[in-house]
């Protein structure tokens, strides 16, 4: 047989074996058999020396062509087989993604915490410090220093839990105003969120334990206009929309002048609806310019400094935010309720 014949046969045999190979091992065997160092093509090229120069050139060229062709075909076949193999593996690795994921689920934070944190972040962004005061207070901080002397009728409105040692449970977060003034002095921008207590019978809308957020700014020449600005800015951020506010007279001994701040009803936009009792306004928070007696009690000269203060009912805000109609749920510890937040 001529060398060309041998090469062509070898080519054909290898191609047909390649067609039938189904595994990578079979492919490798074919490669070794045809292209290996001791393979059949190598065998043929050993006989090159005996050929005439012009024949050698021709056979050499053929040999290279076949070699390249076989290599290409082998690669192609290998790629095809690889792809089948990975497909088979992937197919076998099916999982049911609708199965429940293992591990614990995160718990949730109390609704008051959510509202409180949101407000804290908001106030901090406006340069307010966050302060704390004790839950057990003295009469001085809870009443006297806030311009509520012993025989003041305002004490009636705040049914107080008295302690046997003569102290009391704070009825509002306002005592922190005095504590903050004593500790830091003016100028001061601060809020004090926290737990307060009133000796009230508990029902769906009354609790003896609830949360307030006190706020105060003391600086030079703080005005009603500044109070309005802060309240409008804050409430717009709290309710995530532009709100319209109004002030009307309200009496609180620790401020003068004192205001009730109303916001235009967010449900009806001021036209009147059951939520705002058809007035178009919802009473939201008491506020005012800090009474000079309060500043003096905090060691601050009211001729040099003045400020505004406000009190926000965190519990009430959380009720509005989440549509909670029973205040008892907050301290009820019922996970069916608490897990919703």
């Amino acid at each position: 047989m001529s060398p060309e014949q041998i090469i062509s046969d070898l080519h054909a045999t290898s191609l047909s074996a390649l067609e039938q190979a189904t595994t990578l091992d079979a492919l490798e065997a074919i490669r070794v058999d045809a292209l290996g160092r001791k393979g059949k093509l190598a065998e043929v090229s050993k006989a090159f020396g005996k050929l005439a120069p012009e024949e050698r050139a021709r056979v050499g060229k053929l040999l290279n062509t076949v070699k390249q062709d076989l290599e290409t075909r082998l690669d192609q076949r290998k790629t095809a087989l690889d792809s089948v193999a990975i497909d088979v593996r992937l197919e076998s690795e099916w999982v049911d993604l609708t199965a429940p994921a293992p591990g614990i689920r995160p718990g949730s934070l109390h609704p008051i915490t959510h509202v409180q944190r949101e407000l804290e972040e908001l106030f901090v962004s406006l340069g307010f410090a966050i302060m704390d005061g004790p839950e057990v207070e003295t009469e001085h901080y809870n009443f006297d220093a806030l311009n509520i002397p012993a025989d003041h009728p305002a004490r009636d409105a705040q049914d107080t839990f008295w302690l046997k040692d003569g102290r009391l449970l704070r009825t509002h977060t306002s005592p922190v105003q005095i504590r903050a003034l004593e500790k830091f002095g003016p100028p001061l921008k601060m809020i004090a969120p926290g737990r307060v207590f009133r000796n009230e019978e508990v029902d769906a809308s009354h609790e003896h334990t609830f949360y307030q957020l006190e706020g105060m700014m003391v600086d030079r020449d703080v005005s009603v206009a500044h109070l309005l600005y802060f309240m409008k800015t804050l409430l717009s951020a709290i309710f995530h929309r532009d709100v319209t506010v109004r002030l009307r007279p309200g009496f609180f001994p620790f401020v003068e002048p004192g205001f009730e701040l109303d916001i235009q009803c967010l449900i009806c936009g001021g036209k009147g609806c059951p939520v705002c009792k058809h007035s178009g306004w919802v009473e939201l928070l008491p506020c005012g310019l800090v009474n000079p007696a309060v500043l003096r009690a905090g060691g601050v000269d009211p001729e040099q400094w003045n400020g505004f203060a406000f009190g926000l009912g965190l519990t009430r805000l959380a009720m509005m935010r989440y549509g909670i109609d029973d205040i008892r749920l907050f301290a009820g510890g019922d996970l069916r309720f608490l897990r919703q937040f």
Binding site: G127, A157, L169, N199, H226, E256, L338
Partner: protein, 661 residues
């Protein structure tokens, strides 16, 4: 407080603003209206009493009429016609302490006919919620509702002696009041007395024995002024609030007693024709102090309001409210406060900011951002730490609860708390919730039992204050409940503790409380510092499952938080690891073996990790650890690693432990 629209119309010239619109204006400028209701041909505007606590004058229609007149720019009509009463009083009044009764004025009338009041008078009283009784009593109530001056009519025939005494009650004195209740008094209660005893509780209620009856023909008409806090104390001690006491509590104007009598004089002639004044005016009073004028700088006023108000507008507003205004320097007013606002309400210039502000309308003040330097506020690291703890607990599956600060003595005993060392509430909401919590455990225990009714397993936590006589301590208490008999709870909670304070360890407790599982209770330590307790509830405490608790002192937890300062360079030389298994007695602690191994390993030890335990047939435990050793400046040779390992093995053996190699 109910205000009759028709009554206000009598007192304000040309009042034609519809009632509901008027109520809105009063809300914005003066006091909160709670609604408007039709009452026959009248309309009643209800004003929230809470918004009137500082305004003695607004407890009568005339005071509100003054506001309305000022708001609308109308003329105020005074219903009182001044009278010249003769000075020869036919009744003598003695006042023991003028501090308690600054003024007591009285008139005596003869030839009185007691009968029902005319229709118009009855309608007025009914509109504002007062019951018509008879013409005499109705006149006193009319004056009360119109001028805010409480009055009282005695049947003169039933008063003994010629003197009316205003004095503290004697201990144990009793009086049968007009409401048919009998009150036992003490010296803190002021009374009006005749020669035989109390005939009225001052400023609160009259006595039944001297009440006006159909046979009354001669009356003593009292128009007095009593000390606000004295009336308030007596009223709250006797649990008796009346229309009179509500007004006196607000500090009424002593000048008003005479106006009350003048008004009553005119009304009596109308409702009891033929009535005659017997003698003249009895009027016992101490000098009525005239408060100094309030100096008001208009520039200061504008700065407080944040809006410029023209000088003549300020003057007009103040004068319409009957303040007297004198300009004592350019743009400085000296403001004289009318007597009915001077008892308590208006004393400082800030009070005048309110008068001007509300009348110009706060809605006329545009919001303005303050021009203050930007400052970084003082930090609140404690609060931030608490919140990080909260987020960590929630990430580990725990849900936040809030519990009350009150607990009962029974609960305190369950938790082995010394009741006498707790802060106690004098007036608890429920008699048994009289202690302040010194621990969050009682609340958490209740949460566990309540929620076990709805869930097979759950995790919850609270951050709250434990209240001790000497201070408040923030605590973190977490619990895990599962309806099974496993011990996973304490380990889940231990993991939470490790997340909250890296490096924390748990040591079995030497002594346990009755609510704790004696074999599943430990102290949580950071180094040598105790930061809390980890325990499973004693099975008798929780039914139908197991509940474990982690109870931590947040202050200590925060103080002990590690603060990374300088980083450790990454190791450049390979390390070597080998495993060792130590055979130990059943209750030998994993941590104890580990520290023994650590000690023996010495400086070369980079880390030691407990791998697993394995129970041996004889009941002993085989505890396996993986030790990693290395040196910072080179690779340890196989021989060096072998030496460390041999040292440990021999050390453990000589300490009496068998090693499984």
């Amino acid at each position: 407080m109910k205000f009759s629209y028709n009554w206000l119309r009598d007192l304000v010239d040309q009042l034609d603003t519809p009632p509901s619109e008027l109520a809105q204006l009063i809300t914005i400028k003066t006091a909160e209206s709670e609604g408007v209701e039709a009452h026959g041909d009248d309309c009643v505007i209800e004003i929230d009493n809470k918004s009137l606590t500082h305004r003695p004058d607004l407890w009568g229609h005339y005071g509100m009429a003054r506001e309305v007149a000022a708001i609308l720019g109308r003329k105020l009509i005074d219903p009182v016609e001044p009278q010249e009463f003769p000075r020869s009083a036919s009744v003598r009044v003695s006042i023991e302490d003028h501090a308690l009764c600054p003024r007591y004025s009285a008139l005596v009338f003869d030839n009185v006919t007691v009968k029902p009041s005319p229709q118009w008078l009855q309608q007025r009283l009914e509109a504002v919620g007062l019951n018509p009784i008879n013409n005499i009593v109705d006149v006193t109530n009319y004056v009360l509702a119109e001028l805010a001056q409480p009055m009282h009519a005695f049947d003169a025939a039933k008063l003994q002696g010629s003197e009316i005494m205003v004095r503290p009650a004697r201990a144990g004195e009793t009086i049968k009041a007009l409401n048919d209740e009998t009150y036992t008094l003490d010296p803190s209660n002021l009374v009006i007395a005749d020669s035989t005893g109390p005939v009225a509780i001052a400023g609160i209620i009259g006595g039944a024995d001297s009440a006006i009856s159909n046979s009354t023909t001669r009356i003593v008409l009292e128009s007095a002024n009593f000390n606000a806090s004295s009336v308030r104390k007596t009223s709250s001690r006797l649990r008796l609030r009346t229309d009179a006491s509500m007004r006196f509590e607000k500090a009424q104007d002593p000048v008003n007693t005479i106006r009350g009598l003048e008004r009553a004089f005119a009304l009596l002639q109308e409702v009891s024709p033929g009535v005659r004044l017997a003698g003249g005016l009895a009027d016992n009073y101490r000098p009525i102090p005239v408060p100094p004028p309030v100096v008001l700088s208009l520039d200061w006023l504008n700065r407080k309001l944040g809006r410029a108000v023209p000088e003549d507008e300020v003057r007009r507003i103040l004068e319409s409210l009957e303040f007297r205004v004198e300009e004592i320097a350019p743009r400085v007013f000296s403001v004289f406060v009318p007597t009915w606002r001077a008892t308590k309400d208006v004393t400082i210039k800030e009070d005048l900011v309110e008068e001007v502000g509300r009348m110009i309308g706060y809605d006329s003040i545009p919001p303005v951002a303050p021009l203050t330097p930007a400052r970084v506020p003082p930090a609140s690291p404690e609060r931030e730490f608490h919140h990080r703890v909260r987020l960590m607990a929630a990430a580990q599956g725990f849900t936040e609860v809030h519990n009350y600060s009150f607990i009962s003595e029974d609960t305190a005993r369950v938790f082995s708390v010394d009741v006498s060392a707790q802060v106690q509430v004098s007036n608890p909401i429920v008699s048994d919730q009289n202690l302040l919590r010194t621990s969050l455990l009682p609340g958490i225990w209740k949460n566990i039992r309540d929620n076990a009714r709805h869930f097979d397993r759950f995790r919850l936590f609270e951050i709250g204050r434990a209240i001790h006589p000497d201070g408040e301590v923030p605590r973190f208490t977490a619990a895990m409940f599962a309806k099974d008999n496993g011990a996973s709870g304490v380990f889940e909670l231990k993991r939470l503790a490790e997340c909250l304070l890296p490096g924390v360890s748990v040591r079995p407790a030497d002594a346990t409380q009755s609510y704790e599982h004696p074999r599943r209770t430990g102290d949580v330590l950071c180094g040598e510092t105790n930061v809390g307790r980890l325990f499973e509830f004693h099975p008798k405490m929780v039914e139908g499952g197991r509940a474990a608790v982690l109870d931590l002192d947040l202050t200590r937890l925060m103080q002990l938080q590690p603060t990374p300062e300088r980083y450790q360079p990454l190791r450049r030389f390979p390390e070597s690891a080998f495993d060792l298994s130590v055979v130990a007695n059943p209750r030998t602690l994993i941590a104890d073996i580990q520290s023994a191994l650590e000690k023996l390993a010495g400086d070369a030890l980079l880390s030691i990790v407990f791998l697993r335990e394995f129970a041996l047939p004889d009941g002993a435990r085989s505890l396996s650890y993986r030790l990693t050793v290395g040196a910072p400046d080179r690779t340890l040779s196989a021989e060096e690693v072998g030496l460390v390992r041999t040292r440990i093995i021999e050390g453990m053996r000589s300490a009496g432990y068998e090693l499984r190699l």
